[in-house]
């Protein structure tokens, strides 16, 4: 395997953006390329993740290319997935030896539509979507089942929210933040019981860009390269009745394949849009109690769909680069109820 390092990372998140995709993306890509110390022309591959369903405007990802340095023509690819999967494609491309470096970016404008409703389109169009099960309702079904199986309470969920909101206070890119204890949160009304507003993601608009470089060259580009030591993604069946919603088998396998348990984990960034999903993921990834979870506030506090998973990888890498730990786990998910999961193990030089 070739060693691949994350050498730069930039992001922006806002509750509502009136700029178009190019206008949102351009400064973020620029910042990531500038801090990678690479010339744009030196970057061998460009890969992105986005979904036009979010803003209801077709081919936004093609127009976005105007803002990412696509002239002279570049080697480029796109996934209709969170940008974390674009990073995986770039990592595989680098493994083949075809390129040594890549720019990976993602963007999403969730505020244009009703995101929870848009997500209903991910379900079976013949027998399920017709009932318009919005994402919050489906997550509520999963949360209740999980609490029953794991013996967890609404307080456990509120504790996740309270900690995330508190941590988000020191993250300028979080859109939900605050110092509210679980007691206060539990006094709020339900949204889709047992979930309250604080259990559901703070949707946001934004973009993320990461530059990765293989081998020795990475060491010349940044003070402390953060190496991708394990990377795997798996998928569970889409039918909600076809799997145990209280577990995330695909996350368990991805974590094992990525080698999460091979050494001590200092911190983890988990892309759990809903509070109970963080608890499911901690179990699936086998994270010890002393692992620092979502010091950024996580996807709960800035759910820029399509880039929030890539943000988890970037946020984790940034903390390792800054010396806050030596080994981190980053996770991305897609689909209802953690249907698809990616796990990335990162280690500092």
């Amino acid at each position: 395997m070739r060693d691949v390092a994350i050498v730069s990372f930039a992001q922006s998140n806002a509750a509502r953006e009136d700029r178009n995709e190019v206008e949102i993306l351009l400064p973020v890509v620029k910042a990531a390329v500038a801090s990678s110390q690479l010339e744009r022309s030196e970057i061998g591959f460009t890969c992105s993740g986005s979904s036009d369903f979010l803003q209801g405007q077709p081919f936004a990802f093609v127009m976005a290319l105007d803002g990412v340095g696509a002239w002279p023509p570049i080697k480029e690819s796109h996934v209709e997935m969170d940008g974390a999967w674009a990073l995986y494609e770039a990592w595989v491309k680098i493994q083949t030896g075809e390129v040594d470096s890549a720019l990976v970016y993602a963007f999403g404008k969730t505020s244009s539509g009703d995101l929870a409703e848009v997500q209903a389109l991910q379900l079976d169009p013949y027998c399920v979507t017709q009932l318009w099960p919005d994402a919050d309702s489906v997550a509520g079904i999963q949360a209740r089942l999980y609490m029953e199986r794991a013996g967890r309470s609404e307080r456990d969920l509120a504790e996740v929210a309270a900690r995330s909101l508190r941590d988000a206070q020191s993250n300028p890119h979080a859109v939900a933040k605050g110092d509210r204890d679980a007691e206060k949160l539990l006094a709020e009304p339900y949204r889709t019981s047992p979930l309250r507003d604080h259990d559901c993601p703070a949707n946001s608009d934004g973009a993320t860009a990461i530059v990765v470089m293989a081998g020795e060259r990475a060491k010349t580009l940044c003070e402390r390269p953060v190496w991708i030591r394990g990377f795997d993604h798996r998928i569970d069946p889409p039918a909600l009745g076809a799997r145990d919603l209280t577990r995330a088998p695909s996350a368990e396998i991805a974590a094992a394949r990525a080698g999460v348990g091979d050494d001590k984990v200092d911190l983890a960034e988990l892309s759990a849009p809903y509070t109970h999903q963080e608890l499911i993921l901690r179990e699936a990834l086998g994270l010890a109690d002393d692992v620092r979870i979502n010091p950024s506030g996580g996807t709960l506090c800035a759910h820029t769909m399509m880039s929030c998973g890539l943000n988890r990888i970037g946020d984790a890498a940034q903390r390792i680069a800054a010396g806050e730990g030596d080994r981190a786990v980053a996770h991305a998910s897609q689909g209802h109820c953690l249907q698809q999961n990616m796990v990335c193990v990162l280690e500092g030089e």
Partner: protein
């Protein structure tokens, strides 16, 4: 082909999603300009190419093109095609001419339709001008320019527009 007896061939599944759209800075500038009979392009800075319609960035440099610049509603045909394919979306009688017009002051061809022009007279280098909708029908829509039509000005030699053809 399937020989499944009584196969269900279609189902009705209405989908309705509402979007609170935002056009972004570049398109907002361009579309609002149309309501005042102005064609606005954008550039990354003085002396840089003027892009019409603007989409936010100069695709050759990927620099933010945020400076709005008014260009002329007169221009030169850099290429065209005669359309004989009907479409419910198009209010013109067949056949008609669609063209790329290099507006005076712009550095990017602008796509639109030509009218009041005999099919055998349309040519590369021909000078044309926008025909605007009546003032009370100007909206944030590119059809506020109803069409382009020939004007009485000498043709522009191909060499002068070759770069944009």
């Amino acid at each position: 082909m399937s020989d499944l007896p009584n196969a269900l061939k279609s189902i009705v599944t209405p989908v309705r999603l509402e979007y609170d759209h935002s056009a972004g800075a570049a398109a907002t500038g361009f579309l609002r300009g149309l309501t005042q009979k102005k064609i606005l392009g954008a550039r990354t800075g003085p002396g840089e190419p003027v892009l019409v319609p603007p989409r936010g960035a100069d695709p050759r440099t990927s620099e933010l093109a945020a400076e709005l610049v008014e260009v002329s509603d007169k221009g030169t045909v850099v290429t065209y095609s005669i359309v004989r394919v009907p479409s419910d979306n198009i209010p013109f009688e067949l056949p008609y001419v669609c063209a790329t017009v290099l507006l005076d002051g712009a550095n990017l061809g602008f796509f639109h339709v030509l009218q009041n022009c005999a099919l055998d007279e349309v040519r590369i280098g021909m000078r044309v001008q926008a025909h605007w909708a009546p003032d009370d029908q100007l909206t944030e829509n590119v059809s506020s320019i109803r069409y382009f039509e020939p004007i009485d000005e000498p043709d522009v030699p191909f060499e002068q527009i070759e770069e944009y053809a």
